[in-house]
């Protein structure tokens, strides 16, 4: 009888040690720049859901909850010994970078990730869809469009615009781009650009979008010449953009978790930083109807939000 009991205890102990060891080896430290920010928290929630399904353990550090977050981070890294550190937002990544040492790093929701210091063993999910994704989706909704125009500043966006031009060309779309040095040039540049294109694309360029007045000028000119405006964010829908396509936040969280799981298995993903795999589409039917601008109705099943005119 005693032997049987001893056997049971031994099995239980072994199971505990094995599971503890497994959990230890898969421990993730999540650093959230600010869990009060909706986009960060949405990503964190989805990330944790996937981790939970895969029986991974995690510890969370919300930087906004600690006066001396750096000290807390050091403590946690020492205490938890995580195999992977997942950083949500640029602040979280910058802090983790100084203390991660040889630990694997994964990030998402970092603004302009190309400016980050990315070393070996670091992976991420970008904040924005790739130009090729956006252009493909634009073609889905507006299959007849051949010429798209955009304004940009050479210093900030030349590389991005070159990528857009190349990706667009692969899809049979001509990008008519016009560089500007100053927001004062917007009006004249648009007067020159708009007659040559069927749709104007607002890219995230700090000179073009330097003030509310710049944004208003873009929409005023476009309206005068009856040209639809497409934007990278639905913030511009209320100004009159006909459509906005952006990355789906929940998918960024799930995608990051997939990367974490693959990294846990030693299967490193293709490329260091992935584009987000999911998109969110807002369609401004009110603006489209006003311009009598046709769109592919079969694409309606891919729309998250339709904006109708107020009645």
């Amino acid at each position: 009888m005693k032997i049987i009991n001893f056997g049971k205890v031994l099995i239980l102990l072994t199971t505990f040690l094995v599971s503890a060891g497994f959990a230890q080896s898969n421990k993730v430290l999540i650093i959230n720049s600010d869990n009060g920010v909706f986009r960060y928290e949405t990503i964190a929630v989805e990330f944790k859901k996937v981790l939970q399904q895969s029986a991974y353990q995690w510890t969370e550090l919300n930087l906004n909850s600690h006066v001396d977050a750096e000290v807390k981070l050091k403590q946690l890294i020492q205490q938890e010994n995580p195999e992977l550190i997942y950083c949500i937002g640029t602040k979280a990544y910058s802090l983790a970078l100084n203390h991660a040492h040889d630990r694997k790093l994964l990030f998402s929701a970092a603004i302009n990730w190309r400016r980050l210091d990315i070393g070996e063993g670091t992976y991420g999910v970008a904040n924005e869809l790739s130009p090729a994704q956006e252009i493909s989706l634009l073609r889905y909704f507006f299959p007849t469009i051949k010429n798209i125009g955009l304004l940009y500043n050479d210093k900030f966006s030349s590389e991005y615009v070159e990528t857009i031009k190349k990706d667009a060309l692969d899809l049979g779309i001509n990008i008519v781009n016009q560089p500007i040095n100053d927001a004062q040039e917007i009006s004249d540049s648009l007067n020159e650009l708009l007659p040559k294109i069927e749709l104007f694309w607002i890219i995230s360029d700090p000179v073009v979008l330097s003030s509310k007045a710049s944004v208003q000028q873009i929409f005023k000119s476009a309206q005068q010449q009856r040209k639809p405006v497409y934007a990278y964010s639905d913030v511009y829908i209320e100004h009159g953009a006909v459509m906005a396509i952006s990355a789906d936040l929940a998918t960024i969280g799930r995608q990051s978790a997939s990367l974490a799981l693959m990294m846990g298995k030693g299967k490193m993903p293709e490329g260091t930083v992935q584009s987000p795999a999911g998109s969110t589409v807002t369609l401004n039917k009110c603006a489209l109807d006003a311009l009598q601008f046709d769109f592919n109705q079969d694409a309606l099943d891919s729309v998250n939000k339709i904006v109708e005119c107020d009645k």
């Binding site: 790739s130 899809l171 799930r254 795999a277 109705q297 891919s302 729309v303 998250n304 109708e308």
Partner: protein, 261 residues
């Protein structure tokens, strides 16, 4: 006083009559849940369908993002219409829920669809999917079920080594393969045709590793033989493709309804 009483009585009868009339229609609602998509468009669906249905008999539309809540409504057994995927309908029928198809959705004249497992051409067989990410739109349960069917008994054991990445819509799933975020995608065959239209280069890089069995598109079902009110609502639904309601159907990925013979 003698004059006031009949006026009050008439007012009472009018109000009571109106209330009963509203109540009689308010009893019928179209409930919707679809595990084959993950587009968060519930507010848009609710507004679009309610606007149409209220003007066509005073009916309402209630979309769900939770399978459990949708099934709880079905268990209440009201005289309503349920829009759901045929995969979900079969699963419920297996649990002895007496749902019967009244209408099947159509898209460009078809009532059936197949799901396809697509990969880049360097993935020659399903065994190469071990330890990879497969993207798909819909619930994880649904994607696993389709994948299981496509892999078949021989390759079923691969499932535990495949990570599913849930994305909002089919086109995201297929493009995730082209752009390197996933190794394979589960999508409707018709979605591959969409990719051929919008990104032909990417389409040429892909091939189908396997197909699911054919199944109906979205279906409209009832719990029992439709009575007058349900029959009226089904007729309103069937006729949506004839006018202003067609755009609403497109939001669901269909363009019409066909009565099941």
């Amino acid at each position: 006083m003698k004059r006031v009483l009949p006026v009050l009585l008439i007012c009472f009868l009018f109000i009571a009559g109106s209330y009963c009339s509203v109540r009689s229609n308010a009893g019928s609602i179209i409930y919707f849940y679809n595990p084959e998509t993950n587009v968060n468009n519930f507010a848009t669906l609710k507004t679009a369908f309610d606007t149409y249905l209220v003007n066509h008999g005073g009916y309402y539309f209630q979309p769900f993002d939770s399978k459990e809540k949708f099934e709880a409504i079905i268990r209440e057994k009201k005289d309503d219409i349920y829009l759901l995927s045929s995969w979900h309908l079969k699963a419920l029928q297996q649990k002895s829920v007496p749902l019967k198809i009244a209408l099947v959705g159509t898209s460009k004249g078809n009532t059936m669809q197949r799901k396809v497992l697509s990969t880049k051409k360097d993935i020659a067989n399903v065994a190469m999917l071990k330890n990879t990410v497969v993207a798909g739109a819909g619930s994880e349960e649904y994607i696993y079920s389709v994948l299981k069917q496509i892999l078949g008994k021989e390759q079923e054991s691969l499932l535990k080594d495949i990570k599913i990445l849930i994305v909002p819509k089919d086109i995201d799933a297929i493009m995730a393969v082209g752009f390197g975020m996933a190794t394979a995608a589960i999508s409707a065959e018709s979605s591959l045709n969409k990719l051929a239209m919008i990104n032909p280069n990417q389409f040429r890089e892909l091939h189908g590793l396997g197909f699911s069995e054919e199944d109906y598109l979205l279906v409209a079902a009832t719990l029992k033989k439709p009575e007058q009110q349900e029959a009226q609502l089904l007729e309103v639904l069937r006729k949506m493709s004839e006018g202003a309601g067609k755009e609403n159907l497109k939001l669901l990925g269909i363009d019409g309804w066909r009565a099941l013979q």
